[in-house]
């Protein structure tokens, strides 16, 4: 199994898919800790209107290139043995999972720190855009803080 892996999925990440990702490590006997982050589309209220879904688009070629650099940095900084990321594209309704980050390590601290850092890097440095859609058909472009 590759040490790090990034994939896009059309629509929400299903619970079944997340289970399958965890099961990939069943045979990795050096793994003692998993840290899993799931990002879910939240029903924010913006200017009195409720968000019903987010539509994601990306610059895929750049994401894959940047992810290689980011994961190299994370493997150098933390004693982890695996990093797997799934991000949604297209429409994810509120309550749907749009991001999964799974870091594995021999011990918990490395897994948790790498997972947290990976989430921040993914949100800040990967060219992915979310359009928040309202019930009335209007939308706004999301911006990460």
């Amino acid at each position: 199994m590759n040490q790090s892996h990034f994939s896009f999925i059309q629509g929400p990440v299903s619970p079944q898919k997340i289970v399958e990702e965890i099961q990939l490590y069943d045979s990795e006997k050096q793994t003692g800790a998993y840290s899993l982050f799931l990002g879910q589309v939240r029903s924010d209220v913006i200017n009195g209107k409720e968000v019903r879904a987010i539509e994601y688009t990306t610059y895929k070629k750049m994401v894959l290139k940047k992810f290689d650099t980011l994961s190299t940095r994370l493997f150098e900084a933390h004693d982890i043995n695996g990093l797997r990321v799934i991000h949604s594209l297209e429409m994810v309704p509120c309550g749907g999972i749009s991001l999964m980050v799974l870091a594995t390590a021999g011990h918990r601290v490395a897994a948790m720190e790498a997972c947290r850092e990976a989430v921040d890097l993914i949100k800040n440095e990967l060219p992915i855009w979310g359009k928040e859609l309202f019930e009335d058909g209007e939308h706004v472009w999301k911006e990460n803080n």
Binding site: T58, Y59, P127, I128, W129
Partner: protein
Amino acid sequence: MHIYLFGILEEVTGQKILEARYFDSSDKLIRSLKENIPSLNEYSFQVSVNQEIVTEDTPLTDQDEIALLPPFSGG
């Protein structure tokens, strides 16, 4: 040159890819694009050359892949 637009920039220009004549530096290219497409002046964006973000004026070849990247909002 092909310039790829994303997110809100694709929406406001109605174009995914812009065709521009060759400029030998990123600053010259961006200046020309902003003159020809005034709506680009209303939005903040970063520029990438061959999938790397550039923050200073950068020499260009006519084979370079340029993209205009509005603020990211993945996750």
